[in-house]
Subunit: 242 residues, 2 copies
DNA sequence: TTCGAGCGTATTGGATCCAAAAGGGGCCGG
DNA sequence: CCGGCCCCTTTTGGATCCAATACGCTCGAA
Protein backbone atom coordinates (compact mmCIF):
# COMPACT_ATOMS: atom_id res chain seq x y z
CA UNK A 1 0.00 0.00 0.00
CA UNK A 2 1.05 3.55 -0.64
CA UNK A 3 2.78 5.48 2.09
CA UNK A 4 0.05 7.93 3.00
CA UNK A 5 -3.39 6.49 3.03
CA UNK A 6 -6.09 5.32 5.39
CA UNK A 7 -7.71 1.91 5.33
CA UNK A 8 -11.04 3.52 4.57
CA UNK A 9 -9.64 5.03 1.39
CA UNK A 10 -7.98 1.84 0.24
CA UNK A 11 -11.12 -0.13 0.86
CA UNK A 12 -13.24 2.43 -0.96
CA UNK A 13 -11.02 2.11 -4.03
CA UNK A 14 -11.15 -1.68 -4.00
CA UNK A 15 -14.90 -1.67 -3.58
CA UNK A 16 -15.29 0.90 -6.31
CA UNK A 17 -13.35 -1.31 -8.68
CA UNK A 18 -15.41 -4.32 -7.66
CA UNK A 19 -18.63 -2.45 -8.28
CA UNK A 20 -17.61 -0.93 -11.58
CA UNK A 21 -16.33 -4.25 -12.85
CA UNK A 22 -19.61 -5.88 -11.94
CA UNK A 23 -18.05 -8.30 -9.47
CA UNK A 24 -20.44 -6.83 -6.93
CA UNK A 25 -23.62 -6.81 -8.94
CA UNK A 26 -26.20 -4.01 -8.71
CA UNK A 27 -28.69 -4.54 -5.94
CA UNK A 28 -26.31 -6.57 -3.84
CA UNK A 29 -26.45 -5.84 -0.15
CA UNK A 30 -23.14 -4.87 1.39
CA UNK A 31 -22.94 -6.20 4.93
CA UNK A 32 -20.51 -4.32 7.11
CA UNK A 33 -19.49 -7.41 9.03
CA UNK A 34 -18.87 -9.40 5.88
CA UNK A 35 -16.71 -6.66 4.39
CA UNK A 36 -14.83 -6.18 7.63
CA UNK A 37 -13.87 -9.86 7.55
CA UNK A 38 -12.97 -9.72 3.90
CA UNK A 39 -10.61 -6.79 4.44
CA UNK A 40 -9.58 -7.85 7.91
CA UNK A 41 -10.43 -4.56 9.60
CA UNK A 42 -13.14 -3.42 11.94
CA UNK A 43 -16.43 -2.04 10.73
CA UNK A 44 -15.35 1.54 11.35
CA UNK A 45 -13.23 2.04 8.22
CA UNK A 46 -15.71 -0.06 6.26
CA UNK A 47 -18.49 2.34 7.07
CA UNK A 48 -16.37 5.33 6.15
CA UNK A 49 -15.59 3.73 2.82
CA UNK A 50 -19.26 3.03 2.21
CA UNK A 51 -20.15 6.60 3.07
CA UNK A 52 -17.74 7.77 0.45
CA UNK A 53 -19.16 5.44 -2.17
CA UNK A 54 -22.64 6.62 -1.26
CA UNK A 55 -21.62 10.23 -1.81
CA UNK A 56 -20.18 9.22 -5.17
CA UNK A 57 -23.48 7.61 -6.05
CA UNK A 58 -22.09 4.11 -6.39
CA UNK A 59 -24.08 2.63 -3.56
CA UNK A 60 -27.43 3.52 -2.12
CA UNK A 61 -28.05 3.87 1.56
CA UNK A 62 -31.07 3.57 3.79
CA UNK A 63 -30.65 4.38 7.48
CA UNK A 64 -30.71 1.32 9.71
CA UNK A 65 -30.94 -0.93 6.70
CA UNK A 66 -27.57 -0.57 5.16
CA UNK A 67 -25.84 -0.10 1.87
CA UNK A 68 -26.37 -1.83 -1.42
CA UNK A 69 -24.83 -1.52 -4.84
CA UNK A 70 -26.87 1.02 -6.67
CA UNK A 71 -29.29 -0.09 -9.33
CA UNK A 72 -30.16 2.19 -12.19
CA UNK A 73 -33.31 2.80 -14.16
CA UNK A 74 -33.50 3.38 -17.89
CA UNK A 75 -34.26 7.06 -17.41
CA UNK A 76 -31.27 7.42 -15.13
CA UNK A 77 -29.21 5.68 -17.75
CA UNK A 78 -30.35 8.18 -20.37
CA UNK A 79 -29.55 11.06 -18.08
CA UNK A 80 -26.09 9.72 -17.39
CA UNK A 81 -25.38 9.55 -21.09
CA UNK A 82 -26.72 13.06 -21.65
CA UNK A 83 -24.38 14.33 -18.98
CA UNK A 84 -21.48 12.38 -20.34
CA UNK A 85 -22.20 13.71 -23.81
CA UNK A 86 -22.01 17.28 -22.60
CA UNK A 87 -18.96 16.83 -20.45
CA UNK A 88 -17.07 14.74 -22.89
CA UNK A 89 -17.70 17.06 -25.79
CA UNK A 90 -16.48 19.88 -23.59
CA UNK A 91 -13.38 17.93 -22.63
CA UNK A 92 -12.72 17.14 -26.28
CA UNK A 93 -12.98 20.77 -27.26
CA UNK A 94 -10.61 21.75 -24.50
CA UNK A 95 -8.18 18.98 -25.34
CA UNK A 96 -8.17 19.67 -29.07
CA UNK A 97 -5.66 22.53 -29.14
CA UNK A 98 -3.49 20.82 -26.54
CA UNK A 99 -2.86 17.58 -28.38
CA UNK A 100 0.79 16.95 -29.17
CA UNK A 101 1.95 14.61 -31.90
CA UNK A 102 2.88 12.02 -29.30
CA UNK A 103 -0.53 12.21 -27.70
CA UNK A 104 -2.23 11.86 -31.04
CA UNK A 105 -0.22 8.71 -31.55
CA UNK A 106 -1.36 7.47 -28.20
CA UNK A 107 -4.94 8.13 -29.13
CA UNK A 108 -4.41 6.39 -32.43
CA UNK A 109 -2.97 3.40 -30.64
CA UNK A 110 -5.87 3.27 -28.21
CA UNK A 111 -8.22 3.41 -31.16
CA UNK A 112 -6.46 0.49 -32.79
CA UNK A 113 -7.02 -1.58 -29.67
CA UNK A 114 -10.62 -0.53 -29.75
CA UNK A 115 -10.96 -1.50 -33.38
CA UNK A 116 -9.55 -4.91 -32.59
CA UNK A 117 -11.97 -5.34 -29.72
CA UNK A 118 -14.82 -4.32 -31.99
CA UNK A 119 -13.80 -6.79 -34.66
CA UNK A 120 -13.35 -9.53 -32.09
CA UNK A 121 -16.87 -8.91 -30.91
CA UNK A 122 -18.14 -9.10 -34.43
CA UNK A 123 -16.22 -12.24 -35.29
CA UNK A 124 -17.61 -14.26 -32.41
CA UNK A 125 -21.27 -13.60 -32.03
CA UNK A 126 -21.81 -16.54 -29.70
CA UNK A 127 -23.32 -16.06 -26.32
CA UNK A 128 -21.93 -17.22 -23.01
CA UNK A 129 -18.92 -16.44 -20.90
CA UNK A 130 -16.79 -15.98 -23.94
CA UNK A 131 -19.03 -13.31 -25.32
CA UNK A 132 -19.27 -11.66 -21.93
CA UNK A 133 -15.53 -11.40 -21.76
CA UNK A 134 -15.23 -9.94 -25.24
CA UNK A 135 -17.80 -7.33 -24.34
CA UNK A 136 -15.85 -6.50 -21.22
CA UNK A 137 -12.66 -6.12 -23.24
CA UNK A 138 -14.53 -3.86 -25.61
CA UNK A 139 -15.67 -1.65 -22.74
CA UNK A 140 -12.14 -1.41 -21.39
CA UNK A 141 -10.73 -0.51 -24.80
CA UNK A 142 -13.43 2.09 -25.24
CA UNK A 143 -12.56 3.67 -21.92
CA UNK A 144 -8.92 3.58 -22.94
CA UNK A 145 -9.68 5.75 -25.94
CA UNK A 146 -11.70 8.31 -24.05
CA UNK A 147 -9.27 8.43 -21.16
CA UNK A 148 -6.54 9.73 -23.43
CA UNK A 149 -8.76 12.69 -24.25
CA UNK A 150 -9.54 13.36 -20.61
CA UNK A 151 -5.89 13.27 -19.76
CA UNK A 152 -4.94 15.75 -22.46
CA UNK A 153 -7.79 18.05 -21.49
CA UNK A 154 -6.22 18.44 -18.04
CA UNK A 155 -9.55 19.35 -16.53
CA UNK A 156 -9.83 17.41 -13.29
CA UNK A 157 -13.36 18.43 -12.47
CA UNK A 158 -14.72 17.56 -15.89
CA UNK A 159 -12.87 14.27 -15.84
CA UNK A 160 -14.11 13.44 -12.39
CA UNK A 161 -17.72 14.18 -13.17
CA UNK A 162 -17.69 12.50 -16.56
CA UNK A 163 -16.15 9.36 -15.15
CA UNK A 164 -18.63 9.47 -12.34
CA UNK A 165 -21.43 9.51 -14.90
CA UNK A 166 -19.73 6.67 -16.70
CA UNK A 167 -19.35 4.62 -13.53
CA UNK A 168 -23.01 4.97 -12.78
CA UNK A 169 -23.74 2.34 -15.37
CA UNK A 170 -20.55 0.47 -16.12
CA UNK A 171 -21.20 -1.99 -13.32
CA UNK A 172 -24.25 -3.02 -15.29
CA UNK A 173 -22.18 -4.26 -18.20
CA UNK A 174 -23.73 -7.22 -19.92
CA UNK A 175 -22.72 -9.39 -22.79
CA UNK A 176 -23.95 -7.91 -26.00
CA UNK A 177 -25.80 -10.07 -28.51
CA UNK A 178 -24.62 -10.09 -32.10
CA UNK A 179 -26.64 -9.49 -35.23
CA UNK A 180 -26.19 -7.34 -38.29
CA UNK A 181 -28.05 -4.35 -36.88
CA UNK A 182 -26.05 -4.45 -33.68
CA UNK A 183 -22.86 -4.92 -35.57
CA UNK A 184 -23.61 -1.85 -37.64
CA UNK A 185 -23.91 0.20 -34.47
CA UNK A 186 -20.61 -1.14 -33.17
CA UNK A 187 -18.99 -0.27 -36.47
CA UNK A 188 -20.38 3.21 -36.33
CA UNK A 189 -18.91 3.66 -32.86
CA UNK A 190 -15.54 2.61 -34.15
CA UNK A 191 -15.83 4.89 -37.15
CA UNK A 192 -16.70 7.83 -34.93
CA UNK A 193 -13.55 7.37 -32.90
CA UNK A 194 -11.60 7.69 -36.12
CA UNK A 195 -13.58 10.77 -37.08
CA UNK A 196 -12.76 12.38 -33.75
CA UNK A 197 -9.09 11.67 -34.28
CA UNK A 198 -9.31 13.20 -37.73
CA UNK A 199 -10.88 16.37 -36.38
CA UNK A 200 -8.21 16.60 -33.71
CA UNK A 201 -5.46 16.13 -36.28
CA UNK A 202 -7.07 18.80 -38.43
CA UNK A 203 -6.96 21.18 -35.47
CA UNK A 204 -10.72 21.59 -35.42
CA UNK A 205 -11.92 21.91 -31.82
CA UNK A 206 -15.51 22.79 -32.69
CA UNK A 207 -15.77 19.85 -35.04
CA UNK A 208 -14.22 17.49 -32.54
CA UNK A 209 -16.66 18.73 -29.96
CA UNK A 210 -19.68 18.06 -32.10
CA UNK A 211 -18.40 14.66 -33.09
CA UNK A 212 -17.72 13.75 -29.48
CA UNK A 213 -21.20 14.74 -28.45
CA UNK A 214 -22.85 12.74 -31.18
CA UNK A 215 -20.57 9.84 -30.48
CA UNK A 216 -21.62 9.58 -26.86
CA UNK A 217 -25.28 9.81 -27.76
CA UNK A 218 -24.78 7.13 -30.37
CA UNK A 219 -23.19 4.99 -27.68
CA UNK A 220 -26.41 5.37 -25.79
CA UNK A 221 -28.31 4.23 -28.86
CA UNK A 222 -26.03 1.24 -29.06
CA UNK A 223 -26.58 0.35 -25.44
CA UNK A 224 -30.32 0.89 -25.78
CA UNK A 225 -30.37 -1.35 -28.79
CA UNK A 226 -28.53 -4.06 -26.89
CA UNK A 227 -30.87 -3.73 -23.94
CA UNK A 228 -33.82 -3.91 -26.26
CA UNK A 229 -32.58 -7.09 -27.83
CA UNK A 230 -31.82 -8.67 -24.51
CA UNK A 231 -35.19 -7.78 -23.09
CA UNK A 232 -35.40 -6.31 -19.67
CA UNK A 233 -36.63 -9.54 -18.11
CA UNK A 234 -33.38 -11.32 -18.77
CA UNK A 235 -31.20 -12.31 -15.89
CA UNK A 236 -27.96 -10.80 -17.18
CA UNK A 237 -29.64 -7.45 -17.62
CA UNK A 238 -29.36 -5.47 -14.45
CA UNK A 239 -31.01 -2.27 -15.52
CA UNK A 240 -34.48 -1.61 -14.24
CA UNK A 241 -37.37 -0.18 -16.19
CA UNK A 242 -38.03 3.50 -15.65
CA UNK B 1 -35.35 16.14 12.38
CA UNK B 2 -36.92 13.88 9.83
CA UNK B 3 -37.98 10.40 10.85
CA UNK B 4 -35.40 8.37 8.99
CA UNK B 5 -31.95 9.77 9.15
CA UNK B 6 -28.61 9.21 10.80
CA UNK B 7 -26.66 11.78 12.75
CA UNK B 8 -23.89 11.61 10.20
CA UNK B 9 -26.28 12.69 7.46
CA UNK B 10 -27.79 15.50 9.47
CA UNK B 11 -24.39 16.78 10.41
CA UNK B 12 -23.18 16.58 6.84
CA UNK B 13 -26.08 18.73 5.71
CA UNK B 14 -25.49 21.33 8.39
CA UNK B 15 -21.77 21.46 7.62
CA UNK B 16 -22.49 21.71 3.92
CA UNK B 17 -24.72 24.67 4.52
CA UNK B 18 -22.10 26.27 6.76
CA UNK B 19 -19.43 25.80 4.13
CA UNK B 20 -21.51 27.00 1.21
CA UNK B 21 -22.67 30.05 3.11
CA UNK B 22 -19.09 30.90 3.96
CA UNK B 23 -19.60 30.62 7.70
CA UNK B 24 -16.80 28.08 7.62
CA UNK B 25 -14.33 29.87 5.45
CA UNK B 26 -12.15 28.08 2.87
CA UNK B 27 -8.95 26.75 4.35
CA UNK B 28 -10.39 26.38 7.81
CA UNK B 29 -9.32 23.25 9.63
CA UNK B 30 -12.17 21.10 10.85
CA UNK B 31 -11.24 19.45 14.14
CA UNK B 32 -13.20 16.32 14.87
CA UNK B 33 -13.29 16.95 18.59
CA UNK B 34 -14.50 20.50 18.16
CA UNK B 35 -17.29 19.42 15.83
CA UNK B 36 -18.27 16.55 18.09
CA UNK B 37 -18.76 19.02 20.92
CA UNK B 38 -20.63 21.45 18.72
CA UNK B 39 -23.09 18.77 17.62
CA UNK B 40 -23.00 16.89 20.89
CA UNK B 41 -22.15 13.52 19.39
CA UNK B 42 -19.06 11.36 19.35
CA UNK B 43 -16.39 11.66 16.70
CA UNK B 44 -17.70 8.63 14.82
CA UNK B 45 -20.64 10.28 13.03
CA UNK B 46 -18.52 13.41 12.59
CA UNK B 47 -15.97 11.50 10.63
CA UNK B 48 -18.58 9.85 8.49
CA UNK B 49 -20.04 13.25 7.70
CA UNK B 50 -16.61 14.61 6.80
CA UNK B 51 -15.96 11.62 4.55
CA UNK B 52 -19.12 12.42 2.71
CA UNK B 53 -18.21 16.05 2.29
CA UNK B 54 -14.78 15.00 1.07
CA UNK B 55 -16.33 12.78 -1.58
CA UNK B 56 -18.51 15.71 -2.63
CA UNK B 57 -15.40 17.84 -2.96
CA UNK B 58 -16.41 20.34 -0.30
CA UNK B 59 -13.56 19.57 2.04
CA UNK B 60 -10.06 18.33 1.43
CA UNK B 61 -8.52 15.53 3.38
CA UNK B 62 -4.98 14.51 4.22
CA UNK B 63 -4.46 11.25 6.13
CA UNK B 64 -3.43 11.76 9.74
CA UNK B 65 -3.78 15.49 9.36
CA UNK B 66 -7.45 15.97 9.00
CA UNK B 67 -10.05 17.79 7.01
CA UNK B 68 -10.24 21.38 5.96
CA UNK B 69 -12.68 23.43 3.96
CA UNK B 70 -11.57 23.26 0.39
CA UNK B 71 -9.92 26.22 -1.24
CA UNK B 72 -10.22 26.81 -4.93
CA UNK B 73 -7.87 28.19 -7.56
CA UNK B 74 -8.84 30.47 -10.41
CA UNK B 75 -8.45 27.69 -12.96
CA UNK B 76 -10.69 25.44 -10.89
CA UNK B 77 -13.16 28.27 -10.76
CA UNK B 78 -13.15 28.55 -14.53
CA UNK B 79 -13.63 24.84 -14.90
CA UNK B 80 -16.53 24.83 -12.48
CA UNK B 81 -18.25 27.50 -14.55
CA UNK B 82 -17.59 25.64 -17.78
CA UNK B 83 -19.21 22.56 -16.30
CA UNK B 84 -22.11 24.53 -14.94
CA UNK B 85 -22.60 26.17 -18.33
CA UNK B 86 -22.87 22.80 -20.05
CA UNK B 87 -25.08 21.20 -17.46
CA UNK B 88 -27.32 24.15 -16.99
CA UNK B 89 -27.86 24.69 -20.68
CA UNK B 90 -28.74 21.02 -20.93
CA UNK B 91 -31.16 21.30 -18.02
CA UNK B 92 -32.74 24.36 -19.61
CA UNK B 93 -33.23 22.59 -22.90
CA UNK B 94 -34.82 19.63 -21.14
CA UNK B 95 -37.01 21.85 -19.01
CA UNK B 96 -38.18 24.03 -21.87
CA UNK B 97 -40.95 21.79 -23.23
CA UNK B 98 -42.04 20.85 -19.73
CA UNK B 99 -42.77 24.31 -18.41
CA UNK B 100 -46.38 24.85 -17.41
CA UNK B 101 -47.96 28.27 -17.17
CA UNK B 102 -47.77 28.10 -13.38
CA UNK B 103 -44.10 27.26 -13.48
CA UNK B 104 -43.41 30.09 -15.88
CA UNK B 105 -45.07 32.38 -13.37
CA UNK B 106 -42.86 30.99 -10.66
CA UNK B 107 -39.81 31.65 -12.78
CA UNK B 108 -41.04 35.13 -13.50
CA UNK B 109 -41.52 35.77 -9.83
CA UNK B 110 -38.03 34.47 -9.01
CA UNK B 111 -36.69 36.77 -11.68
CA UNK B 112 -38.46 39.72 -10.14
CA UNK B 113 -36.77 39.02 -6.84
CA UNK B 114 -33.50 38.80 -8.68
CA UNK B 115 -34.10 42.10 -10.43
CA UNK B 116 -34.78 43.72 -7.09
CA UNK B 117 -31.59 42.28 -5.65
CA UNK B 118 -29.69 43.54 -8.66
CA UNK B 119 -31.12 47.04 -8.30
CA UNK B 120 -30.43 47.03 -4.57
CA UNK B 121 -26.85 46.21 -5.30
CA UNK B 122 -26.63 49.00 -7.79
CA UNK B 123 -28.31 51.54 -5.56
CA UNK B 124 -25.93 51.06 -2.67
CA UNK B 125 -22.42 50.80 -4.00
CA UNK B 126 -20.85 51.25 -0.59
CA UNK B 127 -18.47 48.70 0.81
CA UNK B 128 -18.70 46.98 4.17
CA UNK B 129 -21.01 44.55 5.85
CA UNK B 130 -23.99 46.14 4.20
CA UNK B 131 -22.60 45.55 0.77
CA UNK B 132 -21.61 42.02 1.70
CA UNK B 133 -25.13 41.27 2.72
CA UNK B 134 -26.62 42.68 -0.45
CA UNK B 135 -24.25 40.54 -2.48
CA UNK B 136 -25.32 37.51 -0.50
CA UNK B 137 -28.96 38.29 -1.14
CA UNK B 138 -28.17 38.65 -4.81
CA UNK B 139 -26.54 35.20 -4.86
CA UNK B 140 -29.53 33.64 -3.13
CA UNK B 141 -31.96 35.28 -5.55
CA UNK B 142 -29.86 34.12 -8.47
CA UNK B 143 -29.93 30.55 -7.20
CA UNK B 144 -33.65 30.87 -6.73
CA UNK B 145 -34.10 31.62 -10.42
CA UNK B 146 -31.94 28.76 -11.62
CA UNK B 147 -33.43 26.31 -9.15
CA UNK B 148 -36.84 26.68 -10.74
CA UNK B 149 -35.35 25.50 -14.00
CA UNK B 150 -33.64 22.54 -12.36
CA UNK B 151 -36.84 21.54 -10.71
CA UNK B 152 -38.83 21.64 -13.92
CA UNK B 153 -36.15 19.71 -15.78
CA UNK B 154 -36.68 16.78 -13.38
CA UNK B 155 -33.20 15.49 -14.05
CA UNK B 156 -31.76 14.57 -10.67
CA UNK B 157 -28.30 13.72 -11.90
CA UNK B 158 -27.89 16.93 -13.85
CA UNK B 159 -29.22 18.92 -10.94
CA UNK B 160 -26.95 17.20 -8.50
CA UNK B 161 -23.83 17.69 -10.58
CA UNK B 162 -24.62 21.26 -11.54
CA UNK B 163 -25.28 22.24 -7.96
CA UNK B 164 -22.13 20.47 -6.95
CA UNK B 165 -20.22 22.62 -9.43
CA UNK B 166 -21.99 25.65 -8.05
CA UNK B 167 -21.17 24.74 -4.47
CA UNK B 168 -17.52 24.43 -5.28
CA UNK B 169 -17.21 28.18 -5.29
CA UNK B 170 -20.23 29.62 -3.51
CA UNK B 171 -18.48 29.41 -0.15
CA UNK B 172 -16.03 31.91 -1.56
CA UNK B 173 -18.67 34.56 -1.96
CA UNK B 174 -17.34 38.04 -1.40
CA UNK B 175 -18.87 41.45 -1.43
CA UNK B 176 -18.81 42.87 -4.90
CA UNK B 177 -17.52 46.38 -5.52
CA UNK B 178 -19.65 48.80 -7.47
CA UNK B 179 -18.74 50.87 -10.49
CA UNK B 180 -20.34 51.51 -13.85
CA UNK B 181 -18.53 48.68 -15.59
CA UNK B 182 -19.49 46.21 -12.90
CA UNK B 183 -23.01 47.51 -12.84
CA UNK B 184 -23.29 46.92 -16.58
CA UNK B 185 -22.34 43.29 -16.07
CA UNK B 186 -24.93 42.90 -13.34
CA UNK B 187 -27.52 44.44 -15.61
CA UNK B 188 -26.60 42.07 -18.39
CA UNK B 189 -27.08 39.13 -16.05
CA UNK B 190 -30.50 40.37 -15.16
CA UNK B 191 -31.38 40.94 -18.79
CA UNK B 192 -30.27 37.45 -19.70
CA UNK B 193 -32.63 35.94 -17.16
CA UNK B 194 -35.45 37.75 -18.87
CA UNK B 195 -34.25 36.56 -22.27
CA UNK B 196 -34.27 32.96 -21.03
CA UNK B 197 -37.81 33.38 -19.79
CA UNK B 198 -38.80 34.81 -23.16
CA UNK B 199 -37.31 31.84 -25.00
CA UNK B 200 -39.10 29.46 -22.68
CA UNK B 201 -42.39 31.26 -23.19
CA UNK B 202 -41.83 31.14 -26.94
CA UNK B 203 -41.36 27.39 -26.69
CA UNK B 204 -37.85 27.53 -28.06
CA UNK B 205 -35.68 24.90 -26.32
CA UNK B 206 -32.65 25.36 -28.54
CA UNK B 207 -32.71 29.11 -28.04
CA UNK B 208 -33.17 28.76 -24.31
CA UNK B 209 -30.26 26.36 -24.25
CA UNK B 210 -27.93 28.74 -26.02
CA UNK B 211 -29.01 31.64 -23.86
CA UNK B 212 -28.50 29.60 -20.71
CA UNK B 213 -25.02 28.62 -21.75
CA UNK B 214 -23.99 32.15 -22.56
CA UNK B 215 -25.58 33.38 -19.40
CA UNK B 216 -23.51 31.11 -17.20
CA UNK B 217 -20.32 32.04 -19.00
CA UNK B 218 -21.21 35.69 -18.63
CA UNK B 219 -21.67 35.07 -14.93
CA UNK B 220 -18.13 33.85 -14.92
CA UNK B 221 -17.06 37.05 -16.62
CA UNK B 222 -18.88 38.99 -13.97
CA UNK B 223 -17.21 37.10 -11.18
CA UNK B 224 -13.82 37.43 -12.86
CA UNK B 225 -14.36 41.13 -13.22
CA UNK B 226 -15.21 41.43 -9.55
CA UNK B 227 -12.17 39.39 -8.58
CA UNK B 228 -10.02 41.52 -10.81
CA UNK B 229 -11.26 44.69 -9.19
CA UNK B 230 -10.81 43.35 -5.72
CA UNK B 231 -7.32 42.12 -6.43
CA UNK B 232 -6.34 38.67 -5.37
CA UNK B 233 -4.26 39.90 -2.47
CA UNK B 234 -7.28 41.22 -0.62
CA UNK B 235 -8.36 39.56 2.53
CA UNK B 236 -12.01 39.10 1.63
CA UNK B 237 -11.03 37.26 -1.51
CA UNK B 238 -10.63 33.63 -0.77
CA UNK B 239 -9.81 32.36 -4.22
CA UNK B 240 -6.22 31.43 -4.85
CA UNK B 241 -4.25 32.18 -7.96
CA UNK B 242 -3.97 29.30 -10.41
C1' DT C 1 -55.11 -20.69 4.66
C1' DT C 2 -53.68 -16.25 5.65
C1' DC C 3 -52.65 -12.47 8.25
C1' DG C 4 -50.85 -10.18 12.22
C1' DA C 5 -48.69 -10.14 16.90
C1' DG C 6 -44.77 -11.46 19.52
C1' DC C 7 -40.14 -12.69 20.24
C1' DG C 8 -35.33 -14.00 19.33
C1' DT C 9 -31.57 -13.00 16.06
C1' DA C 10 -29.00 -10.31 12.82
C1' DT C 11 -27.40 -5.88 11.67
C1' DT C 12 -26.73 -1.17 12.03
C1' DG C 13 -25.61 3.47 14.60
C1' DG C 14 -23.00 5.47 17.81
C1' DA C 15 -19.91 5.89 22.09
C1' DT C 16 -15.80 4.85 24.12
C1' DC C 17 -11.24 3.34 24.28
C1' DC C 18 -6.48 2.56 22.64
C1' DA C 19 -2.56 2.99 19.41
C1' DA C 20 -0.12 5.66 16.03
C1' DA C 21 1.09 9.79 13.81
C1' DA C 22 1.62 14.78 13.69
C1' DG C 23 2.58 19.16 15.97
C1' DG C 24 5.06 22.22 19.31
C1' DG C 25 8.42 23.72 22.36
C1' DG C 26 12.50 23.52 24.97
C1' DC C 27 17.31 22.02 25.16
C1' DC C 28 21.73 21.37 23.33
C1' DG C 29 25.50 21.87 20.16
C1' DG C 30 27.38 24.36 16.47
C1' DC D 1 21.90 33.25 16.58
C1' DC D 2 20.38 29.16 14.30
C1' DG D 3 19.29 24.42 13.37
C1' DG D 4 18.45 19.71 14.85
C1' DC D 5 16.89 16.38 18.41
C1' DC D 6 13.92 14.79 22.00
C1' DC D 7 9.86 14.62 24.63
C1' DC D 8 5.26 15.87 25.67
C1' DT D 9 0.69 17.14 23.90
C1' DT D 10 -2.76 17.15 20.48
C1' DT D 11 -5.20 14.91 17.03
C1' DT D 12 -6.31 11.32 14.12
C1' DG D 13 -7.27 6.19 12.76
C1' DG D 14 -9.13 2.20 14.11
C1' DA D 15 -11.02 -1.50 17.41
C1' DT D 16 -14.28 -2.74 20.56
C1' DC D 17 -18.40 -2.36 22.98
C1' DC D 18 -23.30 -1.22 23.77
C1' DA D 19 -27.94 0.41 22.39
C1' DA D 20 -31.48 0.69 18.95
C1' DT D 21 -33.68 -0.85 14.87
C1' DA D 22 -34.87 -4.14 11.41
C1' DC D 23 -35.58 -8.93 9.98
C1' DG D 24 -37.57 -13.51 10.17
C1' DC D 25 -39.71 -17.03 12.33
C1' DT D 26 -43.37 -19.19 15.01
C1' DC D 27 -47.80 -19.29 16.68
C1' DG D 28 -52.50 -18.25 17.18
C1' DA D 29 -56.94 -16.37 15.60
C1' DA D 30 -60.23 -15.14 12.01
Amino acid sequence: MSLETTKADEIALVLEEAIVSGELEPGRVLRQEELSERFDVSRTPIREALRRLAALGLVSFVPNRGFRVRTITVSELREAFLVRAELESLATEIAAPKFTAAELEELESAEQSFSKATQALRARPREGVDRWRLTHDWVVANHGFHDVIYRVAESPLIERLAKSARRSFSGHAVWAPGGSETDALYERNDFEHKAIIAALRAGNPAGARTLAREHVMHSFELLSHVLERLGSGERHLRVERG
